[in-house]
Amino acid sequence: MPRYFTQDHEWIDVEGDTGTVGITDYAQSQLGDITFVELPAEGSTVAKGDSVSVVDSVKAASDVYTPVSGTVSDTNAALADEPELVNSDAELGGWLFRITLSDPAELAGLMDRAAYDAFVAEL
């Protein structure tokens, strides 16, 4: 299952026309203790680059932008009680939402793991 990354520190796993989106481990380490995650409404239609979710840390709130366009099909219910999952397991159990891609060609503009790691190393 291919995984792609954005310059805004989101990741997306793609299987068929469904993507699972989260923030990267680097992102969570920068944000610090996460206390609340505002998730998008299931069924909402979103466009690549829209702010669809907000991650609250002790200090501040940060927007999460969807890496692709599509329809939100599912959100991670576990985050309601355990927002800290985004800290402890950002790139697996701390996923944020699933999306049905409307334009898979958008994936071509994203980075692979090697490119993202190189991007972060430059920050």
């Binding site: 805004d8 989101e10 203790d33 609340f36 505002e38 002790v58 200090k59």
Partner: protein, 386 residues
């Protein structure tokens, strides 16, 4: 995602970061913080550690043990000379006649309309009056004071000194093993200070701070700051704590932060700081803004600074509008998640007719309305050693 938490994070050493770093000032403990994993951010024109291991862990450590905070960005000023008391009373609403040797008192720098230019602590030393002012405002404060004080009074900026705060229930035990002075450390109660030796270094130590916990503030020569920080962090009760936890701790303690909860647009009565207008000064006046402030003390202020406890987990941040039904009644000036209470809390200014405890209000955050209720401050009880 947008990383607007640490927008000025310049701890990464790439070229862009170095360019920023050149424009910023560093403090005596800069390398000390970095060596301990401090994430350095811009604050009040300086690079300072926002966190080491994490804000919540550092917050809880301070509430349960003792945290060491570098507050060397704050301005340490010294006022001396003939009639220094009278000169300072012309600038501050403080009663210096009742400020005894070694005592500290909270006061306010006010403009001619009673707007708050800064909040500060005044201590009486044998040789004069020691002032600690906020870092972001210290240059303006110095300029203002130089303008206001007569020539016979000398204002020194003690910029060759560092300032540390040791805060938490174990602060006394840790410091008592290390400090010796003109009297035992135990003789200091809240808002009292004295001269001590700390690892061979002369220090002014006061029992004070901005976390709501028992604790001390320690002024030492800048060149000794590393040795003193090492000495204090050598105690098993003590860990270094960053600005992030300093902010969440002072918010829980209900303590206003200048530049957020206090500004030239706020006055002492609205800010619930009328206690800083000392009794004799209320009767006599003669301080900047006296006319307006004494009027507000009689008639009441149109708005009040209050505390809010929020439903749910989404925090309201500075700038969030406060509503009572459809009526906009105020604005949030500080807000965040309380690690101790495990819920979001906030400070806000609201219309006085809606400032009573228990009043249900809503806060607008990102297009949503968050339910909140006015609660007494401090949110977490103070544990000062009185």
């Amino acid at each position: 995602m947008s990383d607007d938490v640490f927008p000025d994070d310049v701890s990464a050493d790439d070229d862009a970061a170095e360019e920023v770093a050149i424009a910023l000032l560093t403090l005596p403990l800069d390398a000390w913080h970095r060596a301990r994993g401090g994430r350095m951010v811009e604050f009040a024109g300086y690079l300072m550690p926002v966190q080491y291991e994490g804000i919540i862990a550092e917050h809880q450590w301070t509430r349960e043990n003792a945290g060491l905070f570098d507050v060397s960005h704050m301005g340490q000023l010294f006022v001396s000379g003939e009639d220094a008391d009278a000169a300072l009373e012309a600038v501050l609403p403080i009663d210096l006649a009742t400020l005894k040797l070694g005592a500290l008192r909270y006061s306010l720098l006010l403009d001619a309309d009673g707007g708050i230019l800064d909040d500060l602590i005044v201590s009486r030393w044998r040789e004069g009056l020691f002032l600690v002012v906020n870092g972001a405002t210290k240059w303006d404060d110095i300029a203002w004071l130089r303008e206001q004080l007569p020539d016979a009074v000398t204002l020194n900026h003690l910029d060759e000194r560092a300032l540390l705060a040791l805060q938490g229930p174990a602060a006394f035990a840790a410091l008592d093993r290390l400090a010796s002075g003109e009297h035992p450390l135990a003789a200091l109660t809240f808002m009292r200070g004295g001269r001590f030796m700390l690892g061979g270094v002369e220090a002014w130590i006061s029992r004070s701070g901005y976390t709501g916990e028992d604790g001390f503030e320690i002024s030492v020569p800048a060149e000794a700051a590393v040795a003193v920080a090492d000495l204090l962090c050598g105690a098993p009760e003590v860990k270094p704590i960053g600005l992030g936890a300093r902010d969440s701790l002072r918010l829980e303690a209900g303590l206003p932060l200048y530049g957020h909860d206090l500004s030239p647009e706020t006055d002492p009565v609205s800010a619930d700081l009328a206690f800083a207008i000392n009794k004799r000064r209320r009767a006599e006046g003669g301080f900047p803004g006296a006319e307006r402030i004494l009027g507000l003390l009689t008639s009441g202020a149109p708005r009040r600074r209050i505390g809010l406890s929020l439903e749910g987990r989404m925090a309201a941040r500075e700038g969030a509008k406060v509503f009572a039904g459809d009526r906009e009644v105020g604005i949030v000036t500080s807000g965040g998640f309380s690690p101790t209470l495990q819920r979001p809390i906030a400070m806000a200014y609201v219309d006085s007719d809606l400032a009573a405890e228990g009043t249900a209000l809503s806060l607008e955050m990102r297009g949503k309305r968050l339910d909140a209720r006015i609660v007494p401050m401090p949110f977490v009880p103070h544990r000062y050693h009185r």
